[in-house]
Point group: C2
């Protein structure tokens, strides 16, 4: 038995590779088709209407490739467009990154005070607060948009004065609020984990959504008997599609995936725009 089809993972850019990395670690036999919409990245500063349209186009591109599970590894899409995706994708399960992160934080917070950092669109949507409070309405959730973190990661400024100043600028209030869990609500942020932990101190636990969404994918595949029965190629036979071969691609992708990508396929962004 088992389902040998690949898992589809998409993101506005390369950040979702942190999710792919955790999937390969947990389920090394599974094959992934990754789609990064690098021609239109970032989504986090776009309107809700644009985010919904782009997200559905990304999803349809992957659905046409016969996947068994769709992961929106983009916090922005997961925050403002997941139910829109679910309305249009009926045949296979769809997972976003918000619920797995929210559930993990809810189970870990003793103080019942959780912080969330992410793009402007993610925080404005209140998606994490809604998810957390539907599990436990007594938890206080504090959101803070950190729009400079993605450009810092893409600049490779992981350990620098600018990064420390930016982390301090965004997070100093969080510490005073008495949170004990901080959700990294953007797939780029795990790369800045050390700087963030340094700023908030060790008393606050960082929740990396990438890890928890991979675990949820594993649970769903097990529960539906859709895990691959044997090795379907894993990392080696996975496909990596992007809509633009951006110049800084390789070092950024390697930092996020924790490995070099064997082969990249460029698809035209116009192909996505036809997916209506």
């Amino acid at each position: 038995m088992g389902d040998e089809r690949p898992i589809g993972v998409f993101d506005s850019g390369l950040g979702g590779l942190t999710v792919a990395k955790e999937i390969f670690r947990l389920m090394p036999g599974e094959r992934i088709i990754y789609l990064g919409d690098t021609a239109r990245v970032p989504y986090g500063n776009k309107s809700e209407e644009a985010i919904k349209r782009f997200g559905l186009q990304d999803a349809r591109m992957l659905l046409d490739m016969d996947i068994k599970l769709l992961i929106a590894a983009c916090n922005t899409v997961s925050s403002v467009a997941l139910s829109h995706l679910e309305q249009h994708v009926k045949d296979i399960p769809v997972i976003g990154v918000v619920w797995p992160g929210a559930r993990a934080a809810t189970s870990k917070s003793v103080e019942k005070r959780i912080g969330v950092i992410g793009t402007a669109a993610t925080i404005r949507s209140g998606s994490y607060a809604k998810a957390i409070n539907s599990i436990d309405p007594n938890i206080k959730v504090y959101g803070k948009p950190c729009p400079l973190f993605v450009p810092l990661v893409e600049e490779g400024l992981i350990d620098s004065d600018i990064t420390r100043a930016a982390v301090q600028h965004y997070l100093y209030e969080m510490v005073d609020l008495g949170i004990d869990c901080l959700i990294l609500g953007c797939t780029h942020y795990p790369i800045l984990m050390e700087a963030i932990q340094g700023a908030v101190g060790n008393r606050i636990q960082l929740i990396d959504s990438a890890l928890w969404v991979a675990k949820e994918a594993q649970n769903i595949l097990k529960a539906t008997n859709a895990a691959a029965a044997g090795d379907t190629g894993g990392f080696t036979l996975s496909r990596f599609l992007v809509t633009d071969l951006t110049p800084n691609f390789e070092p950024v992708a390697e930092a996020l995936l924790g490995a070099g990508i064997p082969n990249i396929e460029k698809i035209a962004v116009e192909e996505l725009e036809k997916k209506f």
Copy 2:
């Protein structure tokens, strides 16, 4: 006589509004149609192929609106796609922002050492160095990409520790190189003028391309008898088109234009993509 048609100005986003601002200041009777491709901003981290395609689509959208002059108020497009634009736009003059800035710096540099800052794509293209050295091959040109400056402006972080750390990070080498002119090779950068001048000291003159491209537009309109004979409406009757109504739109646009935009028209990015 005179030509009552509007001037077309486009940019990947809102940065080109600094060019529009200078045009309104120099030629208050002229009407502008501004196109900001806010759905696909930024262009500076995209491939040359994508930048050429996007730039030509922006140009064609404006050409269909019967303009008398086309200004690519985007350093990235001006740097990597201007000749591509010129090949396709035959009927009206096309101006980019690189040559006006390069000419101004060349005429002002006594030490014959000029610095250029811009997006990764602008600096990688070497466009300013090529323009400057075709005027005076003895001038040494030093380029430095500053990818964090645009997100800093869009975050409203004009005067902050992060901005000072970023300016210091990118520019400390420039000072040691003995330059006497520094070209702000990105339309967002004039907003950071004070922080930049603070970092490089008063001995180095900052060249704002926006100002010089507006002067070049004025010269071309005069030379070709295409300046509006009377007042064609100026700022009040100008049109401002964007491909996405991004959430942070108004404060950013106001900072760049130096005034609130009276009316915004949203056009679908798919309309641009049809312009082939």
